[in-house]
């Protein structure tokens, strides 16, 4: 059955949905297409910024209504305004990989729901199907058609990561899954809202899957409220300026973004840029590495991406076409469209993706995808960063537009569950990787604990929030020296944190990560990789004695007990109050040869505790004296020594 399903077309059932250039919409649904061509410049700017602010209000409404830390802190969502036939007008400054997805969901709904059950004023459609268009089942789309005089004028839509949508593991990241049948249920678009009301039968069916039904119910109201606010604001705008004028502005926003994107492409030569990275441990118990490849071909005003060369789909680390596309769009949005108010529809007209199906980054049904949001999509983001950075480096002006890989290049999942201090069930997904580092630029260092550049408004929660959300006491959270990749410009340092259960007997822990054995933040132009993720654990420690004695341990080496590293995908870890869990989050990549770094910059890093003396000597070739000043003679000698080591140990080209 699986094989026959996989042999079908790119329809979102057996294989990911990829719409044709012209989508097929039943005449049962009428679209508003009239466009005023002569909108004056003042009205254009006023309405353009109005639309932008509507989309922003859409996002802030989700934050205000949702009680989920995933929405409130991580901003793991994105609101959008799309045209009547599903082209992006405005995307939001939140999680950027949703850019590859919302238009797919709207187009699929138009192609498959126009006739039955139909698309009506007051409807909203819900979906969390990776083969239609989400990163993983935890990311759910809610799409709302905006009607004007009986026709679809445009769409407002959002995609939000829900805290728990079922599956075998709390938090719904399922590291043991062999296929999607062992994961949360994927749902193709269905009419969840009718006449502006959430359907109670479908809501009950959805919440029944979740370990956190109250939180999911709030999230559901948040995404409905966001759409409702945006819809009402757009209708008020249409009322005021007329549908043709507002539609004319929407069209021009897209075409202006398109022109800007094409002008930038014109500065760059044609060619092909490629990179390879590796995921590891496809599921619990596995011990292999998996090749992930990405290339971009530039031909005039088009970019053609392909994942050919990527290993076949396997285990629990897969993503579908939507997440492949979303990962690619992250650096497109940030590097090419940073000054375009996230108007990405025009750029998408010039981007083709030629996916290799049945692979880890374009998996066919029924591959396991629930971890895609922490593994597959992040590896694609990093690869897209590198291939586009090497393209942009061909132009001195555009070479200032990119940064090296960073920002939790593989999100180290740490999911907690159990009973909280009041005896109630709790579930928490540690959001501290949101404080991951930003990679080096071509003209300056990266940013230590700078956050996820592809989630510009996202933040890490403070420790007090963590201690409120889970029955845990955090011993420390701090920057990690040497975690930033060495380079002429250093990658940003990341962070490490440690905790013990508090006012509960045990916390059940699950890890879901790649990037523990193999560093995934790869350097550029001679720069080195950022540090890998790392889960350390001390079982049966004396931490409680030390706390009773009035000291808070600041290093695992201070503790007695059995120390081990947790596996990248491990379930069933029962952390007691005597067990200390430390998580180190991957650092960001460096740029340029480390021995080209200004020695004074290395001395400043040493003084600030950002690098250690051994790293300064070994990787940067910098020696400082007892007062912290650069020893110029010793530094010159050490750097010459490194050059000699290179000459002596390298093979000559054949």
């Amino acid at each position: 059955m699986t094989a026959s399903i996989a042999e079908t077309s790119w329809d979102g059932v057996g294989r990911s949905y990829i719409p044709d250039h012209e989508i097929r919409i039943s005449p049962a649904v009428a679209l508003h297409r009239e466009t005023a061509e002569d909108v004056d410049p003042i009205s254009y700017e006023v309405i353009r910024h109005n639309l932008w602010n509507i989309n922003e209000e859409h996002g802030s409404t989700i934050v205000k209504v949702s009680g989920s830390p995933i929405a409130v802190f991580a901003h793991d969502f994105n609101p959008s305004i799309l045209t009547e036939d599903g082209e992006f007008v405005f995307f939001g400054p939140y999680l950027q990989f949703h850019a590859g997805m919302l238009d797919l969901n709207v187009k699929w709904t138009l192609e498959n729901r126009s006739e039955h059950p139909g698309i009506r004023d007051g409807d909203m459609f819900f979906a969390n199907d990776p083969w239609v268009g989400t990163t993983h089942q935890q990311d759910a789309a809610m799409m709302c058609p905006v009607f004007w005089e009986g026709r679809i004028f445009c769409w407002v839509a959002n995609l939000l990561h829900f805290a728990d949508v079922g599956g075998g593991t709390p938090g719904s990241f399922c590291p043991e899954a062999n296929d999607v049948f062992e994961e949360p249920v994927p749902t193709p678009p269905l009419r969840m809202v009718e006449n502006g009301e959430i359907r109670p039968d479908l809501e009950a069916q959805f919440l029944r899957r979740s370990r956190l039904p109250e939180l999911c119910a709030l999230d559901l109201r948040a995404v409905v409220a966001g759409n409702t606010v945006a819809k009402n604001r757009i209708l008020a705008l249409v009322e005021r300026y007329g549908p043709g004028v507002v539609k004319g502005v929407m069209r021009r926003v897209i075409s202006a973004g398109e022109e800007r994107f094409v002008r930038r492409l014109e500065r760059l030569p044609d060619g092909v840029w490629r990179d390879v990275n590796f995921l590891e441990v496809a599921k619990t118990g596995d011990r292999r590495a998996y090749k992930i490849a990405l290339e971009v071909r530039k031909e005039g005003d088009r970019l053609i991406f392909s994942n050919r060369g990527t290993d076949p789909q396997t285990g629990a680390i897969n993503i579908t076409y939507a997440a492949l596309r979303g990962g690619i769009m992250c650096p497109i949005n940030a590097f090419f469209l940073h000054d375009s108010l996230y108007a990405i529809g025009g750029a998408l007209r010039h981007i083709d993706i030629e996916p290799e199906p049945g692979t880890i980054t374009c998996a066919d049904y029924p591959a396991a995808c629930s971890n895609g949001g922490s593994t597959g999509v992040h590896i694609v983001i990093g690869l897209a960063v590198n291939v586009l950075a090497k393209m942009l480096a061909c132009d001195t002006k555009m070479a200032r537009s990119f940064c090296c890989q960073g920002g939790a290049t593989q999100w180290p999942g740490a999911t907690m569950s159990g009973k909280d201090r009041r005896g109630n069930d709790f579930g928490a997904f540690l959001l501290d990787p949101m404080a991951g580092a930003i990679g080096a630029f071509s003209f300056r260092d990266g940013v230590d604990v700078g956050g996820l550049w592809f989630d510009a408004k996202g933040t890490a929660p403070n420790v007090e929030h963590n201690e409120w959300a889970s029955p845990a006491l955090f011993l420390y959270r701090r920057e990690k020296p040497d975690s930033g990749g060495a380079g002429k410009f250093r990658g940003g340092n990341s962070l490490e944190l440690a905790w013990v259960p508090h006012k509960t007997d045990v916390i059940m822990q699950t890890t879901t990560a790649c990037g523990c054995a193999i560093p995934t933040a790869r350097g550029l132009f001679g720069g080195l990789a950022g540090s890998p993720n790392r889960y350390d654990y001390v079982e049966g420690s004396d931490v409680q004695e030390r706390l009773r004695g009035g000291t808070v341990p600041q290093d695992l080496d201070e503790l007695r007990g059995r120390r081990r590293e947790l596996l990248p995908k491990e379930t069933g870890i029962a952390q007691t109050v005597h067990d200390v869990y430390q998580l180190a989050i991957s650092g960001a990549a460096g740029y340029g040869d480390p021995i080209d770094r200004d020695p004074e910059a290395v001395a400043r890093d040493l003084a600030a505790g950002l690098v250690t003396p051994e790293t300064a000597r070994r990787f940067y070739g910098v020696v400082v004296d007892a007062a912290g000043h650069v020893d110029e003679e010793a530094t010159a000698h050490r750097r010459e020594e490194i050059r000699e080591e290179r000459r002596a140990s390298a093979e000559r080209p054949s």
Binding site: P269, V272, R274, F278, R522, P532, R618, S649, E651
Partner: protein, 102 residues
């Protein structure tokens, strides 16, 4: 040696220069030739292959978690030994052809 006119700079250490009408990569620091721009400049660089643990101060032995043999490859300019690029790759995998100009 024919005179070469720089067409454009490519990142920190590479530039493309036309030599007798043919675009070629060369080191932007010392001018060492690194082959035709339509080819892989890494094939013309010094190459050092080392265990993955040498990729950074916090990189451990990958055999803790995986059986695949991973390595770091460093590519140096044959003239000035500047580190032009690095790869982290599986042993036996071909060199990544990262830049192919048309």
């Amino acid at each position: 040696m024919a005179t070469a006119e720089v067409q454009f700079r490519l990142g920190e250490y590479l530039e493309v220069a036309a030599s007798d009408g043919e675009p070629r990569f060369r080191c932007a620091k010392c001018g060492h030739d690194l082959g035709p721009a339509s080819g892989n400049y890494k094939e013309h660089a010094l190459r050092r292959v080392a265990p993955l643990e040498e990729a950074g101060p916090l990189v451990g032995d990958p055999s803790r978690f995986i059986d695949d043999r991973m390595e770091i490859r460093q590519f140096f300019c044959p003239g000035c030994v500047t580190q032009l690029d690095t790869e982290i790759n599986r042993a036996g995998e071909p060199i990544i052809w990262d830049i192919e100009l048309h």
